[in-house]
Point group: C2
Chain length 154, copies 2
């Protein structure tokens, strides 16, 4: 089988065996070379964002010294949740390989599919009450950004 | 105006002024008390996941020593992107206040709305090529998780 996906699955198993978090692993590859690999560390680190993909992205960015990973690919043992899927976009990665699905994750009680459904507007119940306030005042940083000369865009 | 939203906006402005990243800020509040505040640090840290909300969530989790922030609320100067919106769900936060919108962010060239459109299936072009492989092998960590006795669910 694909050696990068095999590593992602091995990471998923070792992470859960260590009680670091849920059974998920990810690997980041550049030109056929492994740049980083990680497993879910939510429980170990008390960080709700420490999913396998986010952790692998952070490690790769740190190693390469840049937030633009457009020359990298990511392998994930499971379809990334919306947090990780969006993080992959922000990192400008162009290719994502995944194994099991959001429905498979739902079958072991992880909320990936539910959060997708919330975003798509198809969830029957909403966990988060979302309230917009002070839009006018909140546009001030954007006005300043527009006229800022020395900004780094990403 | 709401003092927590004012702080989120002030953070957004100070972060972009310091060239730490884009013009976004967030504050996490528990029982009317500020637990953490942060601005976007993508450029400063070379971490594509270091958005204001994710950074504020990490700080709050670290400070409180738990990944469950269900007793907290979050204030964000802009509507969170899908990464941050999902991160808020994983942290089990129940109330989100935001100022400017994903369309406002798109107007200053941030991809929040584009990534929402990808997830909703309404984007006209896809930045990431998504390929499923080895689902059967990828189900093995989930099989082991199901029968694991000493797991911490979240």
């Amino acid at each position: 089988m694909n050696k990068f996906m095999k590593l992602a699955i091995d990471e998923a198993i070792s992470g859960m065996t260590l009680n670091d978090g849920g059974p998920f692993g990810a690997v980041i590859v550049k030109n056929g070379e492994i740049i980083s690999f990680a497993h879910n560390e939510v429980v170990k680190t008390n960080d709700p964002t420490a999913h396998a993909e986010v952790t692998a992205l952070r490690k790769a960015s740190s190693k390469l010294g840049r937030f633009d990973l457009s020359d990298c690919e990511i392998y994930s043992s499971c379809e990334p949740c919306p947090m990780c899927f969006a993080a992959i976009h922000w990192a400008k990665i162009k290719k994502l390989y995944y194994g099991s699905t959001r429905e498979d994750a739902a079958n072991i009680n992880f909320d990936d599919k539910y959060i997708y459904d919330v975003i798509k507007g198809t969830a029957s119940e909403l966990q988060v009450d979302v309230i917009q306030i002070h839009r006018l005042e909140s546009l001030e940083p954007f006005r300043l950004w527009k006229i800022k000369i020395d900004k780094t865009e990403y």
